[in-house]
Symmetry: C3
């Protein structure tokens, strides 16, 4: 990846790490875990997707081992979430909002990394989807919830659509930064609309 | 591995991928997941065992990232399963049959890959067993079922017996293709007989 | 790592493998699994933490693939546990004791391996904590229990405190063997005291 591309990937990873740290901390506090449980869930949700992606690609040691900055960001984010819990716990949409943001961020950076490894475009969409969804799956399994990905709302579909949008914009020559920003926005908006209007996929069988 | 060995491993992997895609799709449809949920479960069940095997061995990027054919096969298989759901959903044995087939296929190719990495024979049997069982474990955890491996029926034992048969036939010089076919058949038959006659292992404690 | 350091890490890994094999076998027998289920749980609990650690670091093929000794140790340990089940199953503290021992052993060897990979000290504490806790998490997820790490008692905190003690003793120049032994003891004692006196972390929110 070019140097600018690496910088963009880094910014998006930081945004995704922050978003999933908030959603993980919130979900843990809703389950009334102690402070360390909250930190652990925030951490697992934030690094889970990127860790799986890097393990599948063979990019080891994984990113959060190589730099302590990610763990510091998660720690600070979780602590701030704990401090502000009383003020925002009534905002039920918060977890969902930050989860949808993180979903968008991590799907895009996962797809981008797949392209950097010269994987076929369809596989890059799959890799981005796995990267985006896995953190939430870990969070839900550890908290003994049914993973969001299997509920009625559109979840992984948003990642796949966003990934296809990424490839299309990239193909027609849109500026790389806009490609990523638009793709993140598409995934986020699909989630927002799907939950707001209760859109579900048909079972079709 | 010799070139012919690689070709055989490839054919068995494709058979196993197909079998587990069917069993995963079926299990998901029994839980009435939407179409994407069915695809995701089919995918996770198919690639789970081989992915864990390759991660443990360090063979990355994992196989389904390097070639889009596996994902295409899973996608087509799952779609066909969805289309034919109404006609076969009364056949309760279908999931179990395809799961037992996939178990056999993936155990053998996992063992073979361990031998190619010069691991000790006993460890190769363990690696084959892990490869064979893990897809089903992922499927059951994601669908919130008690993993088949922990129910009363003989499951991992079939893999271990099949693995030992593999090593014995290989040792006495049977043709490599027959070694694999017979081992797959042994695992499959043990599962069939165990479920048909309700065979269980004694608790012994 | 120096040669003596490697030997110490090996001894601690063996102790941890044994301890977690006992705790895994016990937990499985409490759930009345068949003999193979007991072996599988004992195996997963023993190798789970070290396997995740080595995957995150990129040290593949993982340790239990490279040498059959670990699997042999787990097999023998689980068999002995099964044989002695009737005599010790009334000792409810046994599972907890061996789990706390394994927690200490694996946290220390995980931290040590991180230092050998030149990771920052804080990240080494995190890696040790992940290595120590993950075996128990796998055991609890497979047995459909709420992971110990999320219950009221102090669990991961013990690992983090032990890790910090390790770094401090190492910094002031204590003999490396004593650093490890004391750190293991600290983690073990924190667990003992926390459970005996029902110490819990405050929720703080």
């Amino acid at each position: 990846m070019g140097q600018f591309d690496v910088a963009i990937a880094e910014v998006i990873t930081i945004c995704g790490t922050f978003s999933f740290a908030v959603s993980g901390a919130f979900a843990a506090m809703q389950k009334r875990l102690d402070v360390f449980g909250v930190l652990i869930i925030a951490f697992a949700t934030s690094v889970g997707g990127g860790t799986l992606r890097d393990i599948l690609l063979g990019d080891t040691p994984v990113f959060w081992l190589k730099s302590a900055n990610y763990s510091l960001l998660i720690l600070v984010t979780a602590i701030v979430a704990v401090i502000f819990w009383k003020r925002i716990k009534s905002l039920k949409i918060t977890l969902f909002l930050f989860d949808s943001l993180g979903l968008g961020f991590f799907t895009v950076v996962g797809l981008q990394k797949g392209l950097a490894y010269d994987l076929s475009p369809g596989i890059c969409v799959a890799l981005g989807t796995v990267t985006g969804c896995f953190g939430g799956i870990i969070r839900d399994i550890l908290l003994n919830n049914i993973p969001l990905i299997f509920r009625k709302e559109i979840y992984a579909t948003a990642c796949i659509v966003g990934g296809i949008v990424y490839l299309l914009l990239d193909y027609i020559g849109v500026d790389p930064t806009f490609v990523k920003v638009i793709s993140v926005a598409v995934i986020f908006l699909i989630r927002i609309i799907a939950v707001k209007y209760n859109l579900t996929l048909p079972r079709m069988y």
